[in-house]
Symmetry: D2
């Protein structure tokens, strides 16, 4: 009996999960543009290191990348600063909520890791590197376009404006770190860059493609481009595994068994080392803020494909 | 043998302390305008409920009021909001440093008391009350002028500008509370008002006069004006006693035994209930940020006058 | 028209408060012996520095002293160790609940003040001073007997046993501090002493008498005995003012305006400097753990007598 | 050219690391029995799912298992309580030191994960399950003997006694959780069991063998015994990956890229899913308390064998 193909498994898992759970969870509603998203959307896209692709549902529809962008700014910052980045941000799990300021006070303005908000803001400051926010935002967007091999990726200005208008906690974090001399750029420039990077719109298809270099030790397996060193790729994957899902990173490690990063837009990027990259999108979030149906789809897909590293 | 007069005691205590300790402590140096202050300055002024005055040294020289202004904005806010103010700020000692943000996170954006920075910012927001910062600053300045019976009290613009340029922690606190909906005004307006109120320049003579209403249950004993209700006056005094000296409020209660409020400009306002108000100024601070020589002078004066309430 | 006498005022306040509020609040129920206490009890006793006494209600009935005992062990420890005590326990308000362990970790096993549980345990360790718990308990009891001029004061063994059987948090605090080398005696000995001191039974009449030395700078005004130095008496009063009512010390300072210490048995000892000592007892507690009706009675009495120091 | 065999690689890595770094790090010295250990010891043992073994150096010498025992008590507790265990202990990284009590207070006595001390104590309580400490200790020891297929594994009584005599922080944690009703057994029984389990002596050879079931989804690949369900095995591995190395779990995930658990005795157990189990021992610890040379050896071995999951 022939083994099911990747396409068959993706279709089967997608259908099973979508039929049973479509619309579950609670769509992020802290800004209007996110609250308006149709909760019934569900997309899934896989791309392997050999270039095979498989998709299900709304894999072609753009959604708000939100915190998944932190993976790509970390990539940029690591290439720019190298190990020096780690004097400004840690790489250990935080044990606190994504926007907690308590740890920052105890540790003198050095965030625990690049995926909590404070850490991502430091990383964005490193990417900003004295440029204008416009230049840095264009750089981040173009990096994502290049990695995704797609020139249509764009910032959603309405989302960026709303993020800025309601992002008091992020202003607090940035000013707090600035007070500890752990931001070089002006708070406003750093945060504008940060809010715009979170407001990029991307499809599952594009996102999986953009993350594929992390499955092959930093080398894009389809075009041979070296994106980051093998060491940096391993570092990013390790951080995705231990810190990629806020207060439920341990849970995701168990359920899916793969490095991943979620965003409140309902997307999740997952890396299958040496094999593939997977992107899923379903807007409803579970109580810790990760896509509820998306996580479930990844769990089932990883089980079917025997992808869990554990 | 006749008892020493107030003037004699003030002169004796002033001379004794100034001779032995003048210049002790460390002048605040986080902004240039404060760092430039002559560390050898020392002023002491007492005014009684009967209108008797006694002074020593530089009691006629203006200095930066800094956190002592919090007493007067609290007075204004209490009169404006009454007990409703206490839904937005507590009135218990904090047990944390004056600029800690940890307690704020645990208690959902409600500061412990009106004298830690976060609490004072909320109070300033209550005073701002939808006006422009210019209007609110003028109101605070005019209140102080009226209480001090002196029209020369003015904001030091250089200090205000420096405070704003380096006040990242205050921006963090304000944005943090704004994120919890505990600021009504725009962060920038509230903080500009706050930085300006802290930058008012006042003399010991004026400061003692301005605080005198707190010694007589809210009634200015010299002109009969009712400034606050007896209850509010008692409340302010109680908060000065338990929270007026940052992390050394308990120590001040022991040493001096009177309600007081210090500022990093080196000033301290102290209330002798039913008797008098005292202001002292000496720029050098002890390690918790209170005027070192000023505290000593108050301790000796309170002992000589048998003013300690304990 | 003649001024009301102390006795008349005590009777009037006692009757007014008891009539309107008797039984209000919630009796401590974490151990059976406390839970059984009749919630309608209400006692009030005043003794002046001239020896005048006035009482109302159940002032002659013994109740469980609980945390009020901390005033007397602090007295003992200060006389024994003097200023050296302050290397082991602070004297600033804590801003945390009475049994919080968080501050202890941040400050390496040194409690904020002698009235939070951790601080009181350190003070008890200082009183234990290498003796057996029996000897230390007898010492504390005898001190209280001597101060109260009454030999019937006794430990309630049932309460002490229950406290020990349910005092896990206190065991946690003691072991935690032992781990920081801030306890000299064995944990079990220190805690047995502590639980017994909290289980002493005393009447309002006895308690007011026992605390009277604090109203006269450490000198018992009725028999001329020097109990503590004036400086130590002032220190104890200052700590009572700033830390005597858990998370509501600032509130008590405002409402009553006097140094005081409460216990979960429903008693409160209050000092009127240079005038008198007051003890009140009503078992129902408010939400922060202080006697609800007792606090009210003190507030009214202080207002009538114009005793507030503010 | 033939590929190097496992034995050759283990020998080469062992020699390279031992030659260059033997004795590096700081031996745990909080109890005499640990402080006496020869810092130059170094052992390494690998066992594959096919039963192939390879060793280097002191792989035959017993050392103190310490926190690595937590893997085996977690195994026992999961089989006993199943998912109900997770109501009493979390499974997320803690972001705090291994013995912190702060998180416990904020989260009402529920430890973050089974590998911080508080969590391990809860797990031990679940294993104790109403039995005597002697019975529970024998159960844990026998489980380890059975898994390691070796009957000589024994508790070091001197170590257990010393742990108990100096374990004030653990007493604090246990009493604290008992106060939140998150321990069922008497504190003393739970801790005696805990101290004894940490005092088991085991060799690298035995430890690798004992952990092998975690490499094959809970099934011992050499004798076919089902130790835990595949789901529980995956859970344990995920927790080892995200929480196995105290405050350096993220770092270990990057450096070695495998689930692992360290102990202050200098040992580390590492699982290579679907392939092998590895144990290393070198007593000198790095500044976060993990074996310095042991970690290095694992890093090099994982790199040579291409075992990192990232």
């Amino acid at each position: 009996m022939p083994t099911d193909s990747l396409a068959e498994i993706v279709a089967a898992v997608g259908k099973e999960v979508a039929d049973a759970h479509r619309g579950a969870g609670k769509v992020a509603d802290y800004i209007p543009a996110l609250a308006r998203v149709d909760p019934n959307r569900f997309g899934l896209a896989v791309i392997t290191c050999e270039g095979e692709t498989a998709e299900f549902g709304d894999a072609w529809l753009p959604f708000s990348i939100q915190s998944i962008s932190k993976v790509f700014t970390l990539t940029l910052a690591l290439e720019r600063l190298g190990e020096a980045l780690w004097t400004r941000v840690g790489r250990e799990p935080s044990g606190s909520r994504f926007n907690s300021i308590v740890q920052l006070e105890a540790e003198k303005g050095v965030p625990r890791n690049p995926f909590i908000n404070a850490g991502a803001i430091v990383v964005t400051d490193a990417v900003l590197a004295g440029r204008t926010p416009e230049a840095a935002i264009a750089d981040i967007r173009d990096t994502l376009r290049r990695l995704a091999d797609n020139d249509t990726i764009e910032v959603d200005k309405e989302v960026a404006t709303s993020e800025a208008a309601t992002g008091f906690r992020n202003y607090a974090l940035a000013n707090f770190m600035r007070g500890f001399d752990n931001l070089n750029g002006p708070v406003e420039d750093v945060l504008q860059t940060y809010f715009h990077q979170c407001s990029l719109r991307i499809t599952c298809r594009q996102l999986a493609r953009a993350g594929l270099f992390l499955a092959r030790e930093g080398l894009d397996p389809l075009n041979g481009n070296r994106i980051v060193s093998p060491e940096h790729a391993r570092r990013i994957n390790a951080i995705m595994m231990t810190c990629g899902h806020y207060d439920a990173s341990g849970e995701f490690a168990f359920q899916v068994g793969l490095p991943g990063k979620s965003g409140v837009g309902g997307g999740i990027l997952t890396i299958v080392p040496d094999r593939a990259a997977v992107a899923v999108w379903s807007p409803g979030l579970n109580e810790v803020g990760n896509s509820q149906v998306g996580t479930l789809a990844l769990e089932k897909l990883a089980a079917r494909m025997k992808w869990s590293v554990f």
